[in-house]
Symmetry: C2
DNA sequence: TGAAATAATGTAAACGGTTACAGTAAACGG
DNA sequence: CCGTTTACTGTAACCGTTTACATTATTTCA
């Protein structure tokens, strides 16, 4: 046993089965037919030797990795569970592997994205995980890529899958105004530049404007779509001496809503009597918060699925630059004052 | 431009900088020092050419992938968000990549695990994602591996990180019995063979026994640690004509608790007045369910971190076969009848 | 000052597959 | 019956790195 690595190679299989390595390779990849005689022998030998093709060697020779990458800002949100589910299901069905990586503004200074053409066949880019410049580079090199929860920057024609944010947010905010008579509506932003956040804010502003309510920038906080950040933001707001009055909170998303609920509870503010609260996403726990959360149902798992399928479409040379915007739906529960 | 691939190789860099490929390689990997003169030239050339080393070629030559794998049963649980967070943080810090793959009983018949020695340097194995036989094979071949939420099978010395289940469950069930006077306690199992589930059941049985309460197998249902399955199980139980009486539910975990809460709500059963409900994990939403959920706080993110650090320990030749069991803590809230 | 040690670099053989190209045997068709 | 197709199979180059070993340039020091 002088071989460096103890692993079984295609040559071992070939020798043991009395054929050439090319034949073994062809049988494994089902490229070219192989005589049934040889096929049977290979089956036996391969399982006897427990042969598993070495991924790196394969990748190098074939210039494919059979891996797709999912690039995220972070993983601090229950929102990612349905998204991952949708993505992973498709990836697995295709016999590919999935690399999950985070990459965000602060890491951008010193590092390049951990995944890209050098180790994946294609990328799902969530949100603002990559700056426009990175997108341009990858896109012009023809690297397969689908944007998730973000539309392509100008001049770039990259397929994209996201959900409808503006109109639904506007409608829901108008619900607060028109049905529940709210006028001092706190708005929690998500991460700066995050497109969902930007659009929800646009919907918010447009609703206020359409209803003749002046926009008070003091009512706009940064919640970052994170439980803890939203909690801090809400708490900070509440503890301010000269705090503006408010009668309701658009929390940004369901995860942030949890932090907001916590802060309001701790300050003895009753929901929805003293302040209405609404979320976004309709994560699994939303109906069971206290009180049940009025929110927007977003088809997150479907987003993951469709985006991944489209990425495989690109890999199989079905080019596309379509922007798919999946519909969303308002779910009225108690936290806004309905169903009390 | 006749090169097949448009990608820049190490040879391009070497030529452009007037050095050999070996020097370039050494500079990139910081193996052997390089004259400052050459280093500067390489910096310039590499960024000019936008050179990125080809992962597969690297992996093949170095017999390392710089990838670690996380093998899960599925991704149907918010529990995985903190776990993934812990894992991903360490992986990123080490400059590695993370492949997330699911592999479960039903896929086992026809396929082999999607990740292993052929495409990763080490594996985090969650729960029953692999059968004992797979573990034996991998372990005897010396492949680095850490078990998560599962202890090694007999005779196998694989490091493992999990949380304390038995004693804490026993304590919490005894809390139901002794503080709240419950005696008909429904128990929802997780996936069959899943170790957390098995141990929680052991704790449950032991608590009943210690308190002289006979075990009624009719009170044990399969919740699978999944919201929807738990909902169906609970609903099925409630709709049975001859259903056994019950006064409380140990739901298995917080995610299943959501399904149980839903079923109870829909059937007009008040919590905790008509039935106490307790979960496990203390996921972020637990304090804000209706009612706030009594549960067990499990340090899931820490589990992910420690397990990953230990895996890197193995990669760096610090062998270990220690089983680490992190402590858990009871969190009393309203759903069990406390703090009413 | 020159031999020996040290530092930096180059050469070329792996790593374990895929695949273009060539070859051979059997089947086919006129 | 023989040229042509068809169906497999083999040979060997190549994928883009790493790294053992060899080589050269520079210090060190007796």
């Amino acid at each position: 046993m002088t071989r460096r690595s103890s692993s079984v190679t295609i040559r071992d299989v070939a020798r043991e089965a009395g054929v050439s390595v090319a034949t073994v390779s062809r049988y494994i990849n089902q490229n070219t037919p192989v005589s049934t005689n040889v096929a049977e022998r290979l089956d036996v030998v391969m399982s006897k030797l427990r042969y598993v093709p070495h991924a790196a060697a394969r990748n190098l020779a074939s210039r494919k990795t059979r891996v797709i990458g999912l690039l995220l800002n972070n993983l601090h949100n229950d929102f990612f569970v349905p998204l991952l589910n949708g993505v992973e299901a498709v990836v697995r069905k295709k016999g590919y592997n999935l690399i999950v990586a985070t990459y965000h503004a602060s890491s951008r200074n010193h590092m390049q994205p951990p995944i890209g053409p050098h180790n994946t066949d294609g990328l799902l880019v969530f949100s603002d995980g990559l700056m426009d410049e990175d997108l341009v580079t990858l896109n012009t090199s023809g690297f397969p890529m689908v944007l998730v929860h973000r539309t392509p920057p100008l001049h770039l024609r990259i397929p994209s899958v996201t959900v409808e944010n503006i109109e639904i947010t506007k409608k829901l905010v108008e619900h607060l105004i028109q049905v529940h008579g709210k006028r001092r509506i706190l708005f929690l932003r998500g991460p700066i530049h995050q497109e969902d956040s930007v659009r929800r804010e646009a919907g918010y502003r447009s609703a206020l404007q359409a209803n003749g309510i002046p926009i008070d920038e003091n009512l706009i906080l940064n919640g970052d779509f994170e439980r803890d950040v939203a909690y801090e933001a809400m708490n900070g707001f509440l503890s301010r001496q000269d705090r503006a009055t408010f009668d309701s909170v658009f929390t940004g998303d369901d995860d942030a809503a949890i932090g907001v609920l916590k802060a309001l509870h701790e300050n003895g503010i009753r929901i929805p009597e003293d302040a209405a609260v609404i979320g976004f996403d309709d994560l699994g726990f939303a109906p069971f918060l206290n009180p049940p959360l009025t929110t927007v149902r977003a088809p997150t798992e479907t987003v993951g699925q469709i985006a991944t399928e489209r990425l495989f479409g690109l890999l199989e040379n079905h080019p596309s630059d379509e922007v798919i915007i999946l519909p969303t739906e308002i779910i009225l529960r108690r936290s806004c004052g309905c169903q009390s």
